[in-house]
Every structure is written in structure tokens, then in C-alpha cells.
Amino acid sequence: MLEIVAETLRATIAVGLILAGILAILIWVKNLTRKLSAMRLFIQIVSVAVIFLGLIIGPFGLDQWAYLGTAPRDIVVGTNILGSPYPDGLTVPTFSCYYASGRTATCVVWQLQSYLFPDYATSNVYLTTGIERLAIATGFLVIFSLIFGRFLCGWICPFGLYMDLLTRLRKALKIKHWTLSERTNEMLKQSRYLIIAAFLILSFILGMNAIAGIELVSESELGRYLEIPFCQVCPAKPLFVLVESGLGYMDIDYALSRTIGDFALTGWYLTSINIVILGIVTVGSFMVRRLWCRICPLGGLIAIFSRFGPFKRLSPIKITKVEEKCTKCGICKRVCPPQVTDVYEEKGGDVTVSDCILCFRCVEMCPYEGCLKVEVAGKPIYKSKNWLNEEE
């Protein structure tokens, strides 16, 4: 029974991915220069392929998973940072999940949590201390956030692509989307920081045995999970692991058998909470555009290092608005996937805010020549234009 399910899932996902790829290429060939959204979809697909390169190019036929460090199929880059061994690979602030094998880089949230406690310092996998690795991870986080900001969310993040594909499916089915009230949106936005604080503190406390000798959680399977608390609720983890299983690079029976049970009972790859949250986010982001982005702690982390304080001035990618050209028609507000209102409300100048994922949909849809501009380091590279001239 389980095998039939597994085979069906595998086949469906494989066919779906191939179709999506063909579709994306067709859209791209037709409109690359005209439509920013099509270009974005293309870059998203390429990014996912690069992030999970091992899934595509192999090597196949090996074990999928290793207890620590890199799995045989991982093609991790950046394992040596300035002479310091860094076996989990380049830190990027996107959902390039640690749990799915075949990745080239690693999600910053996993690294922050696992390096916060020096548990692994005792194991022979790491030759550096937790603090050293934490410094490297934070360094990468700051650099990436500063250079790209939440451009990573809109154009690179694999989970963002998943939500965009759901939106495209909904659009194709001509179902209207739900709009969250401004209050709910604001609440979700603020709770990002609570989640960040919560997982950092939790992983610190739960991994305390190595620091203070107090063992809060025994060195059991469950214990290893709780040391990395956020990943056990993250919706991206089950998605990538399931896709990977579906594609046949991992035994899906294993993943399934390990997730059956109570909510509290955890499996090796996935927790039941993971799967439930993925279900909720999937249904939610089918109805609400980019739902997860509004609460995503990863997005919050990027926002902290790109949209606040001195970082705001240094961050090069910006959306700017010319006050006089704006008629306040409200299109930018309506088309924004995470429902950012600031582009509409701000009078002019820099209108980029922490919840903007820099997808530039507003710039693409603004019908007034040169009203909204995308600026990189002060140079405009893309601006709104009279898009009526481009339609058939």
C-alpha cells in the first residue's frame, strides 16, 4: 500500500516538475524581455536547480543521507572559509534546506540554531568551535542581506517559488485571492521577530548540556530535534524532503514511516507538526499570495540586516518613487503579493520596506512612465512604463 502511494507521488511530482519546467521555458522564450514576472519565474526555477543541484545531476545510487555534515549527494560549496573548515557549506538566507540532500548551500536558520550550542564540538565532524562557525554564518547572513536584501526572497528562495506556483495555479483556475486585513498583516510582520527570538533562545537552552553540563533533554533522537527547534515546524523542510523522496532519491517509505504518530513524536526527517504546517501553508498560500513570506523569520533576519538602521543606507537594491508622477491609482497596492502598502502610501523617494520581497511587481504594473524605479546602488535599472504599448 505504502509503496503504491510512494510510486504515485513520485511519478506525479516528476511529471509535474517536468511540465512546470517546459512551461517556464516557453514563457521565458516568449516574453523574457517584456515581462518581468516571467523572467522572475525563470530565475526562480534556475535558482532552485542550482540550490538543489545534487538532486538533478547526482551522483545517484549512493546513500542519500549521512548523520552529520555532507551527504554523498550534496555538492556543497564554500566548505573552506578563509582557511577555516566549514563542512555544512555556504550560508545563504533562503530555504536551501539542510535536510534535503543534494543541496549546494545551507539555510542560515539551521546553521544559526545548530551552531548556537557546541554539541557537535565534541563530535569529530567539526574541527572548529561553535562560536567560530556562528561568526561565519552570521557574517554570510549580513553580507547576503546587505547586498541582496529581500531580493533573495522574491527571486531565489525555493519556497517562494512553491508559493508562486500555487498562485499561478490559482490564477489559471480563475479563483479570486483572499486579502488579509492590514491589522493581521501587521501582526504577522511583527511576529517574525518573536519567532526569531524564540528559536534562538530555545535552541540555546535545549543545547545547554554542552555548555553548562546541565542536560535538559537527553541525547536521544528527540533531543537532537529539539536542539534545532525551528526546523521542526518549518513548512519548507517537509516539502523539500517529500519532493526529494518523490523523485526517488530517498526512500519515501522511510520518511512516511517516521512521521506516523502523535504530534509530539518526531521522526528522523520530518515531524508531524512540519507536515501539518506545510498543509496549512499550502492551502493558505493558494488563497493568499505569498502567505508564508509575511511571517517568515528568515525574511525577518534579512530585513534586520537590510532595512533597519545603518544597513538601510548601505543596502543597494531599492524601489524609488517619483511623487509627481504618482496619481495614487492604487495598482501597486493591489498587485503586491505580500500586500505591502508603503509603496502606495509613501509620498516619494525610497519606498522599500522590511516586508517588501523586491519582486518588482508594482514597478511592472505601474502604468505611469518612470514613476516607480528599481535602483541598484543609485542607478535605475528598471522603471515603470506605459505597459499598454506592450500588450498585443
Partner: protein
């Protein structure tokens, strides 16, 4: 043509049928003469007027080709839905296979008839429209099966009451404050109500596909319209009056045919740009008109004065709901489902609009931004702030606009007038003085 009236009209006094017929005949004859005269004057100033303009000259006759077409289409079972103001959602009317047509009137003679029920302080557009109804003058108003009246100003509010004795009136209640989500929600509901009413009258359901087609039709019109406006940015290849006439005919013409004709005109004009075949000298003072709508045919007296005076001026752009604002903003649809299309339509008609009937936290800032942007884009030398007596909202906003323009160093002239031909001589002196001053500034 007269609709059946069973109860006594609430406002309009009883008039003998013979008097109505006589007035109708004489005003109609006078109006046709004014239309012909206006076209003659446009031709005189612009010697080699493009061939494509002939179509617009023809369609500009309010009693001519288009009125006959509407009559035929009405006889064939199509519904005609009139509207008094550009807040009415045209896309919905088109999607239900009905014909939208603007019914506000600009006849000076009928304004005098309106004086019989209203004091002269009232906005002459309203007096003129009611006067036209009294003698059944306007073919569009008479042919309408229903009239959409957005209650933008006080005048229109009572106008809807006066006309309600003759036609089914569909009121639309636009919010006066734009920036709030709840006011927009209210307007969205108004749009839904109008949609239902249109569906009920025409018997056609507005489906997703039809609405999409209607939106695309209007987008094409906007595209052509913007193309024409773009041509006015450089040295004048089209006189302001002609462009204003083209813009205004879109209010009663078949929109697809109009789009096609405008594109033909633009093709011709684009060739002229290459040949440097200008309609006026390139150093003619460039004037912008803002304020009360100028309604064809009688209100053409002001642009006529500007473009015929000595020194001559050319109207390169305006900020009026009778011309540049009609089609400038497109309906921007994100997702082609019913809900988003309706949202896009409701936002386009209210959020992008710069009518002075709005206010917000920062005042009607959109209008000021629009004017500043136009001045820069079209290299405007001076602004004529046109107000007909009784148009309170435009008159009140003058002080603020003047402050902004003074800061920019752009001269602005407050030109107040009435629906009368008697002040032409006196206005000529005022306009000429203003243009002379502009020319002096250019020479420096």
C-alpha cells in the same frame, strides 16, 4: 422620442408643446451653427489640418451621424446608458452590450432655460443640462434608457433629482475621502450595485470573458489616447482645440471605431513630426488649461480665444475631466478573475481621479502632482485656470494651486466666465494680455 410622463415633474415647469418645439428648433439650429463655426475656426488657424480630423469633425456634430446610429441601434434592441460624469464605469456598460454615452451638455442657450428653475449662481453645466431636457434637445439624453449619475458635487446631486422624473436614474455615491480602505470598500459596493442594475436593464449577464474584452477595449482606447498626448509633448503638431475635440468625442463615439481613428490620426501626425510640419510655430507660448470641464460645442470659446489671439498660444495639455483625464488612466488588472477585474475598475475610477470633489489627509494632492508633472513633461509656459461661475470646488482650489505654481515660477491666470457669449470681447483682452506676458517671458 419623448418618454411618457405620468406624474407631474418635481422641478420642471409646464411648458406649451409649441414653445418646446419652437425652442428646440431654434436652439438646435443655433448649436449646429456653433459647431460648424468652431470647426471652421479650427481649420482657419491650422491651414493643413490632417485628413484624419475630418472624421472627428463629422462625429462632433451632436445631432448628426452618431445620434442617428444610436437611434438605429436602439431600434435594434440595444440599450443606451447615459452618464453624467466620467466616474461611471464604462467597462461594465460595454460588457453588458449596452452603449455608454455622456449626457452632460454645454449649450449656452439651454443654460438660459435652466434659469427658469434655478438661480444663476448654480453651476451652468447643470442649468444647461436641465434646460436641454426641458426642450428635449440632447439626442443622447433623450435616447438613454437609464442615466448613471455619480453624485460628485452638489450640482449633480440635485440634477439627478430633476432628471429622475424622465429617466431611471442610477445614483452612485463616491466617497469624498480617497485614502481610506473603508471608503474604497464602499465605492466597490457601489460598482457592484451598478453592475447588477446594468445586468437587469440589458438582460445580459456580465461574464468574466465579456468584462475582460471590455477592459481590453478600453485599454486600447487609453493606449491610442496616450499616443496622441505623447505627440503634444514636442513642438506643436496638433492644436490644443483639435486634440481636445478628439478626446471629447470618445465620450459619445463608438469606442473601438474611435480608437482606430485616433491611431490613424497619430500615424499622420507622426509623419508630420518627421517632416517638421507644425500646426503652430514651435516657439508659440505653451498653455495648460485646468479647471471646470469645457463641454463641446459652446465652451470652445476659451480655447478658440487662446489659439486665435495675437500673440497666439497653443494649448499643449489640460487637466480637465472633459479632455485629458477621460482616458489617461488604464484599468490595471493583476489577475483576470471577476473579483480582481471589478476591484481594478473601482480603483481606476476613484483612486486615480483628480477631481476636486476629493479631499484627504494632505488635501487633494494628486491633482497638484498631476499639474506639476504635466507642466514639466509638456514644458508648459503658463497655466489658465478656467472656472465657470458656480463651480465652487474648482474655484476654491485655485488658491492652493496658485501657491504651488508661484513657487515653481509658472504664471497662472484665473479666467472666470459664464455660459454666455457676451463676455467674449472682454475675455479676449484678458487672454491676450496673459499670452503677451508669456511671450515676453519666452523671449527673455
Amino acid at each position: 422620442m419623448a418618454s411618457k410622463i405620468e406624474k407631474e415633474p418635481k422641478y420642471i415647469p409646464e411648458m406649451a408643446q409649441s414653445e418646446i418645439d419652437e425652442l428646440n428648433k431654434s436652439i438646435k439650429a443655433a448649436s449646429i451653427k456653433v459647431i460648424e463655426d468652431n470647426i471652421e475656426r479650427m481649420k482657419k488657424t491650422w491651414k493643413n489640418r490632417p485628413k484624419a480630423m475630418e472624421y472627428f469633425d463629422e462625429i462632433s456634430n451632436l445631432f448628426g451621424k452618431r445620434a442617428k446610429e444610436l437611434e438605429e441601434q436602439k431600434a435594434a434592441g440595444k440599450k443606451i446608458i447615459g452618464y453624467s460624469c466620467i466616474f461611471a464605469p464604462i467597462e461594465l456598460i460595454l460588457a453588458a452590450d449596452a452603449i455608454p454615452v455622456r449626457v452632460g451638455s454645454g449649450w449656452y442657450d439651454t443654460a438660459k432655460l435652466g434659469d427658469r428653475i434655478m438661480p444663476v449662481e448654480i453651476c451652468p453645466v447643470i442649468r444647461s443640462t436641465v434646460g436641454a431636457k426641458m426642450v428635449s434637445l440632447s439626442p443622447y439624453l433623450e435616447l438613454s434608457d437609464a442615466i448613471v449619475i455619480p453624485l460628485t458635487c452638489d450640482g449633480r446631486t440635485k440634477l439627478s433629482e430633476m432628471l429622475s422624473d424622465f429617466k431611471p436614474i442610477w445614483y452612485m455615491n463616491p466617497p469624498r475621502v480617497k485614502d481610506d480602505t473603508h471608503t474604497l470598500d464602499m465605492w466597490k459596493k457601489e460598482i457592484l450595485v451598478i453592475k447588477e442594475k446594468i445586468e437587469k436593464l440589458t438582460g445580459n449577464k456580465i461574464t468574466r470573458q465579456k468584462l475582460k474584452e471590455a477592459i481590453e477595449k478600453m485599454q486600447q482606447a487609453t493606449k491610442a489616447f496616450r499616443r496622441l498626448q505623447e505627440l503634444r509633448k514636442g513642438a506643436p503638431v496638433i492644436n490644443g482645440r483639435d486634440a481636445m475635440l478628439v478626446n471629447q468625442t470618445s465620450l459619445w463615439d463608438d469606442i473601438e471605431r474611435w480608437t482606430q481613428k485616433v491611431n490613424e490620426l497619430c500615424d499622420e501626425l507622426e509623419k508630420r513630426v518627421e517632416q517638421k510640419d507644425y500646426s503652430s510655430y514651435p516657439d508659440t507660448p505653451r498653455v495648460m488649461i485646468t479647471g471646470t470641464p469645457m463641454i463641446w460645442p459652446d465652451s470652445w470659446k476659451v480655447p478658440n480665444l487662446i489659439e486665435e489671439s495675437n500673440p497666439q498660444g497653443v494649448v499643449v495639455v489640460d487637466e480637465q475631466c472633459s479632455s485629458d483625464r477621460i482616458l489617461y488612466d488604464p484599468v490595471g488588472v493583476d489577475e483576470w478573475n471577476m473579483s480582481d477585474m471589478l476591484n481594478a475598475i473601482s480603483e481606476r475610477y476613484i483612486m486615480a481621479c483628480t477631481c476636486p470633489c476629493f479631499t484627504s489627509e494632505h488635501g487633494n494632492e494628486d491633482r497638484i502632482n498631476w499639474i506639476i508633472d504635466r507642466i514639466k513633461e509638456y514644458k508648459v509656459d503658463g497655466v489658465i485656470y478656467y472656472v465657470v461661475r458656480g463651480c465652487i470646488l474648482y474655484a476654491m482650489e485655485y488658491a492652493r494651486i496658485k501657491k504651488v505654481l508661484d513657487k515653481m515660477g509658472i504664471p497662472v491666470y484665473y479666467l472666470d466666465t459664464e455660459y454666455t457669449r457676451e463676455d467674449v470681447g472682454q475675455m479676449k483682452t484678458r487672454v491676450e494680455a496673459f499670452l503677451e506676458m508669456l511671450e515676453a517671458r519666452i523671449d527673455i
